[in-house]
């Protein structure tokens, strides 16, 4: 297979797709003011080519902040794109679409991945989507776009998740998740008094969450919002840790960027040596795949801000590109199988 990445910092779609011929799947990452127009134009340029899109920044070796980026998979892939609507209340209503596409693409667990762009209610969406994918052991990599809108096959949808099933006909695919944080101390909390609809974390071990966070880190209430770059929460799920970012203070509670449920076991995380962690991820991918066709990744906006502030973003993209053809989306939340996480990187590697 072959991965194409085109972009236009000025938002010129024609410039972004320049050189793109015979794509088998297109991923569009546009800006909020041009999204609808880009979706429409893309469909005109490549009719009947499966495509999904969202509002968000994209990158290969450089980040496209306000323009448009196009990623396309060509040669040796079979793809299907579609959408589940009404995700805020009942994405399951449209589940037959996904079941049909999975059936039609005739995928296996080693050669197919599902890439999704979601407009909200991510945890519920992932539970629903993965309930189908897990039957065939298909991995999922994706993220949340901006503006509550996504596109699929030339049409813009609000309150929906756009998905693309990509089957690599010439090799394996594998999904990865990278966490640049590690547990801080031996703090372990059981969440309670949560409001999952509003992503509210009320109490930790029966003590108001704001107080717990402040007492441990010795910070003021005003500092909480930025402290999440250094110390987000981690939700324990067996051997895995899913990062939860803090959005803002809400009374004595904390509002997060992901839902927290009663009985969730949380730990406090601290930023690790991300340069080394990135190197380890790259090393792991290299040992899994001696030959790499393409890497598609979703990097959290928080990581982008953190790396940029530390003048590491360009170096990071260069290092990832050394793996092979690397491109991706800066997301507002990352998806890895049925897990909705923050401040992470998820990626899929095509052999």
């Amino acid at each position: 297979m072959r991965q194409f990445f085109g972009m236009s910092q000025s938002g010129n779609l024609n410039e972004a797709v320049s050189g793109l011929t015979n794509p088998q799947l297109i991923l569009l990452m546009s800006n909020s003011s041009q999204f609808e127009a880009h979706v429409k134009r893309l469909e005109e340029l490549y009719p009947r080519v499966p495509s999904i899109g969202c509002i968000g920044m994209s990158y290969d070796t450089k980040v496209v902040e306000k323009g448009v980026g196009v990623i396309a998979f060509c040669d040796g892939v079979t793809a299907a794109a579609n959408v589940l609507e009404e995700v805020s209340v009942m994405p399951v209503k449209y589940i037959e679409r996904l079941e049909r596409d999975v059936r039609d693409i005739n995928s296996s667990n080693t050669n197919t991945v599902c890439i999704d762009f979601c407009a909200g209610n991510d945890a519920c969406v992932l539970t629903t989507v993965y309930s189908v994918l897990k039957q065939r052991g298909i991995s999922l990599v994706g993220g949340t776009g901006d503006g509550g809108k996504v596109s699929a096959n030339g049409r813009v949808y609000k309150d929906a998740v756009a998905y693309a099933l990509v089957k690599n006909n010439s090799g394996r695919v594998k999904a990865y998740k990278e966490n640049i944080y590690h547990p801080m101390g031996r703090y372990r909390f059981i969440a309670s008094r949560t409001d999952k609809a509003n992503y509210i974390l009320g109490e930790l071990n029966g003590v108001p969450a704001k107080k717990v966070y402040q007492d441990i880190l010795h910070i003021t209430e005003q500092e909480i919002q930025t402290q999440t770059f250094k110390n987000p929460f981690g939700k324990i799920n067996g051997d895995d840790i899913c990062i939860i970012s803090i959005q803002e203070v809400c009374g004595n509670a904390l509002k997060c960027f992901r839902q927290v449920n009663d009985s969730d076991v949380l730990i406090l995380l601290e930023l690790g040596n991300y340069r080394q962690i990135v190197k380890r991820t790259i090393q792991m991918i290299r040992s899994d795949f001696p030959k790499i066709s393409a890497v598609f990744s979703v990097n959290c906006l928080f990581r982008y801000l953190l790396f940029s502030e530390n003048h590491y973003m360009e170096e990071y993209l260069r290092e990832m590109s050394a793996l092979g053809n690397h491109a991706g989306l800066v997301g507002y939340g990352e998806h890895y199988n049925n897990r909705f996480v923050n401040q992470s990187m998820t990626c899929v590697v095509f052999e």
Binding site: M90, V92, K93, C124, I236, S263, D264, R339
Partner: protein, 305 residues
Amino acid sequence: MNFKKKEKVDKSLYPVLYVIKSLKEYHGTLVQGEVDSLKELSMVSKSFGNVLQESEKFKGTLENFEQTFSNIDSVSGQFASVKEDISQSVDKAQGEVEELKNSSILVESYFVEMQKTFQVFQESLHEIKGCMSKIVSIADQTNILSLNASIEAARAGEQGKGFSVVAGEVKSLSDEIKNLAAMVDSSILDVEHGADELNNSIHISHQALEESLSRVNETYETFESITKAAEGAGTVQSDISQVIDNSRVELQSVCSFFENLKDGYQEVIRHINTASKMGTTKSAMFEDIDNMLSQIPPVVEDYNQ
């Protein structure tokens, strides 16, 4: 017709909504139960952590015992050194006593020789006394003879005057001899007296020497007793070492018991961690269940519409 159909659907789907509502309630109770279980598990883990800490402390105390045993062993080891010192001192003292004994025996033999010599001396003195008595007797006879000579000289008259002078001189000489003999007798008496005193002193010294020899023998025996006692201290030290060795073995078995206990504790910790981990995966499942259940009422509502 449409209204009737809707009513029919509403009627048929109400039990589904009712079941979902109940399931949601059960789900809530289950989640609360899980929160309590996790809290309890967390307490178990914490308490067990304390148990582990206490156990480690106790093990540390046992290890201190080991140090104490080593100290006792080291101190009791000094017995051996003391015993060795005593043994060396006793050996040295025994050697010196042996020398004393030998020199005392030599002195005793000299005393015997002295006594023999003294006896010879006394006998000689006795002989001298006898001789002196004979000399006095001869002097007496000479005196009588000189008296007789004087008498005869007187009878002889003038012709005997010279003879009388000689007889007088002889008498005077014999008197002088007697005086001298008396002086010798007196000296001999002094010598006898001194000899008696000397004899007495020699006798007393001999007795003292014999007593000393007896004491030396006793001292020799005492040293042997000390050596034996020191050997006894060595045995005590050896017994202490044996007891310490036995205690060490016992302590080792107690320590290995704690090691085994530690393994058991680690096993429990592993189980607690596994249970805890399972709890965390359950919370993810609860989320999935909730995510799926929460979609049913809107779906039913949508169906009704």
